[in-house]
């Protein structure tokens, strides 16, 4: 079942989220909940020149001049789909409280180029609600289709013949919330969420870059993405929500690691797995390492504590 809605606004969604935080949802001993079995669709007029430009300035990338760079980076496509994720997760029927949801992983399949000003359709659905040892995880699936395409083709494997431009799975963890027993613990577990199985010892690779993130880094990404989640923009709010300090958006890290490395013609895939959050201000040690002829592995870590912030991989076509 696909419900078509207007493109939601993130600011009003955060207002609802604050209300939702006060409501009790999943709690130990509470009854099992299931995901609403529907997809939500919205028409998006396309990424404006202004938004593309503000994204470019944030990461210091090349200009979207249409000649040397026309296709949008996949994190910017994620940004336009993000309000839809929020709309879905802040819906009254969504079983997990929005506040406190932690973005733990993201996987993107960027099938075809998306251009500045190109109108698209954005389809989101929640999947794989599953228990995790620290709470409950859920995948939000986002599909970006050409304008006028049939959303029924969203899951087609043959993207070239369908109208799918871009697909992603964002995995969120709701800490401390417990599901009932109806859903098995291993269902739908994807490749990118293996983190807890890995050993704790981390040997940093050879650093190839160092990211110095000022205390304004969260606000800067918020200004580009519209994601003014207080945990990223306010030290006080972050502490109130149990963080040692404001933390940078996970997708900022994704955007920075991909800048200048994504192919203009698309056809690439990448995933990122978030571990320790990057508190602000802070420095991230970063390594890009070739992983076979067509892939690059990325690692971000805290150079002083040797704690991993994220690991990621980009697979080129």
């Amino acid at each position: 079942m696909v419900t078509e809605i207007e493109m939601p606004s993130l600011s009003s969604l955060y207002g609802r989220a604050a209300l939702g935080a006060a409501r009790s949802k999943l709690r130990p001993g509470a009854g099992a909940r299931t995901l609403p079995g529907r997809s939500v669709l919205a028409q998006h007029p396309g990424v404006s020149v202004e938004q593309a430009e503000s994204y470019r300035r944030l990461f210091g990338g090349e200009s979207f001049d249409g000649a040397h760079r026309a296709a949008l980076p996949s994190v910017l496509v994620h940004i336009i789909g993000f309000p839809m994720q929020m709309a879905l997760m802040s819906d009254g029927e969504f079983p997990l409280p929005l506040m406190g949801l932690v973005h733990v992983a993201n996987e993107v399949e960027h099938l075809r180029p998306v251009r500045v000003g190109q109108p698209v359709q954005i389809l989101v659905a929640a999947e794989n609600l599953r228990p995790h040892r620290r709470g409950t995880q859920v995948d939000i699936k986002v599909t970006v289709l050409e304008q006028g395409a049939d959303p029924a083709n969203a899951d087609s494997e043959n993207a070239a013949e369908t109208s799918v431009l871009w697909r992603s799975v964002s995995t969120y963890l709701s800490k401390g919330t417990q599901l009932g027993t109806e859903i098995s613990a291993d269902s739908g577990s994807t490749d990118v969420t293996r983190s807890d199985a890995e050993p704790k010892s981390f040997v940093p690779p050879v650093k190839t870059a160092s990211w110095r993130l000022g205390s304004e880094a969260g606000r800067a990404y918020a200004a580009v993405s519209g994601d003014y989640n207080p945990i990223h923009v306010s030290q006080l709010a972050a502490k109130a929500l149990g963080m040692p300090a404001a933390i940078v958006h996970g997708m900022y890290c994704a955007g920075r690691m991909l800048e200048g490395r994504e192919p203009e013609g698309a056809g690439h895939r990448w995933w990122i797995r978030f571990e320790a959050p990057v508190t602000l201000p802070g420095t991230v040690a970063f390594a890009a390492e070739p992983h076979g002829p067509k892939a690059v592995r990325f690692t971000g870590w805290n150079p002083r504590k040797a704690r991993r912030h994220f690991s990621a991989e980009l697979q080129l076509p």
């Binding site: 050879v206 650093k207 870059a209 160092s210 304004e216 890009a288």
Partner: protein, 430 residues
């Protein structure tokens, strides 16, 4: 040396001001002050008052926007003929070398008969910029058509916007300082703390000895009461150097080798070299120290660590030596810019490595060994300091003087630069 119809570019001499550690003696002097003083000293040394020079090329790595025409403005502050054209060059730490090399080429081609080339840098007077957010607000206010619009824009200013941003000396694409980059390269080449400290010590000793025997009497003109490079420590010892804790590559833990002493200090200073055709030098009764034979630029892919940031000269040297049919044993003196002691050692190890020379340089065998007794014989950047754009002029003038009176003897120069770049050059004594 190569094609016919190309005449010699003669190095007549040079001048620099003593290099001073940042935020000390030259803290209140700007780039234009230092470059003007350096040019004034050069004019005085060679009696160039009123002379119309073919072109003056110089530059600064750290430059105020108000200094958009730095070299020309400096020329106008000297007794040179105001009809002398000038322009700014920028190739990071290789700015001076690029200025000199390109001016030598103009002379060789007969486009000009004389040139002054050099560079200047001030860390003490580096441009401070406002945050991007504040800049955005100010530009918006500037564009505003009415007072209320302007006030509305200015009302967006928050206290946090006002904290100034020091200019970055980090690589823009990696966010890493040069030292951090070099620490990785040094570690990869297995360069030890001991050999770095030895090189640093030799640099100080050689520089101090050169000063003591008057070598710099006609290469350096004091500035603001400073007579010698203030970074120089003639009384340094291996014991003293050995006590310092690592300054770069600290995440290597016990394997970190780079200290403040075997890395160049941030320095202020300026240098300039006078070049001319043979005829011009003779007409003006000027000395002819050496010929500028050739130079080669290089760059490496360092962004994702495929090659070390400061290794470009290793590649440029191979191409340059091949083109001139030379090997390292053909050089009387070698000047390898000591950005870090490990920079020099990594380049040397690369040239001496059969594996590197075969796999990376595409040669049949190692490029050859470097005779350390011919290396940086009058000191280099570890002792003198390294005001980025000024280093090329320091090296060329000193090497030309060292080769003067040794006709046909060759000197080799290597200067690495930010952005994974570098320049190598050959000059020939006369």
């Amino acid at each position: 040396m190569s094609a016919q119809n190309i005449r010699d570019a003669v190095i007549i001499g040079g001048n620099r001001i003593p290099f001073a550690r940042a935020h000390t003696a030259y803290a209140t002097a700007g780039n234009q002050d230092m470059l003007t003083s350096t040019l004034n000293g050069l004019v005085a040394r060679f009696g160039l008052q009123g002379e119309q020079i073919g072109t003056v090329a110089a530059g600064a790595v750290m430059k105020h926007s108000k200094n958009f025409n730095l070299t020309r403005e400096s020329v106008l502050g000297t007794p040179l003929d105001p009809k002398t054209p000038a322009f700014d060059v920028q190739m990071a730490c290789a700015t001076g070398m690029e200025a000199i090399g390109s001016m030598a080429n103009k002379i060789k081609l007969g486009q000009i008969d004389s040139a002054i080339a050099g560079g200047v840098d001030s860390i003490s007077d580096a441009p401070i910029v406002v945050t991007d957010e504040l800049r955005g607000i100010l530009m918006e206010a500037n564009r505003a058509k009415s007072v209320p619009q302007r006030l509305k824009a200015l009302a967006k200013i928050r206290p946090g916007h006002l904290s100034p941003q020091a200019p970055g000396v980090n690589e823009p694409r990696t966010g890493m300082s040069m030292g951090e980059h070099m620490a990785i390269t040094a570690h990869a080449w297995g360069i030890t703390r001991a050999e770095q400290d030895e090189l640093a010590l030799a640099s100080h000793k050689n520089l101090a000895a050169a000063y003591d025997r008057g070598f710099f009497d006609d290469l350096v003109t004091p500035f603001k009461g400073v007579g010698r490079d203030t970074n120089m420590r003639a009384d340094s010892t291996l014991e003293k150097l050995g006590k310092l804790s690592p300054a770069f590559g600290r995440d290597l833990g016990a394997e970190a080798t780079m200290t403040a002493a075997n890395s160049t200090a941030l320095t202020d200073g300026a240098s300039a070299v006078l070049l001319g055709s043979e005829e011009w030098a003779d007409q003006h009764d000027l000395p002819k120290l050496a010929n500028f034979i050739d130079y080669e630029e290089g760059a490496v892919d360092f962004v994702d660590g495929a090659e070390g940031l400061l290794m470009a000269p290793a590649y440029a040297a191979a191409r340059m030596l091949k083109r001139n049919n030379l090997s390292f044993s053909d050089f009387e003196y070698l000047e390898i810019h000591e950005a870090f002691a490990s920079t020099v050692l990594a380049q040397i190890k690369a040239w001496e490595s059969e594996e590197f020379c075969k796999n990376k340089l595409g040669l049949d065998s190692a490029l050859g060994t470097i005779d350390r007794s011919r290396l940086n014989v009058n000191g280099s950047s570890l002792a003198a300091g390294h005001p980025f754009a000024a280093t090329g002029g320091r090296i060329v003038a000193s090497l030309a003087k060292a080769l003067h009176g040794k006709p046909g003897k060759l000197g080799f120069i290597s200067v690495c630069a930010a952005g994974g770049q570098g320049i190598t050059a050959i000059i020939e004594g006369r």
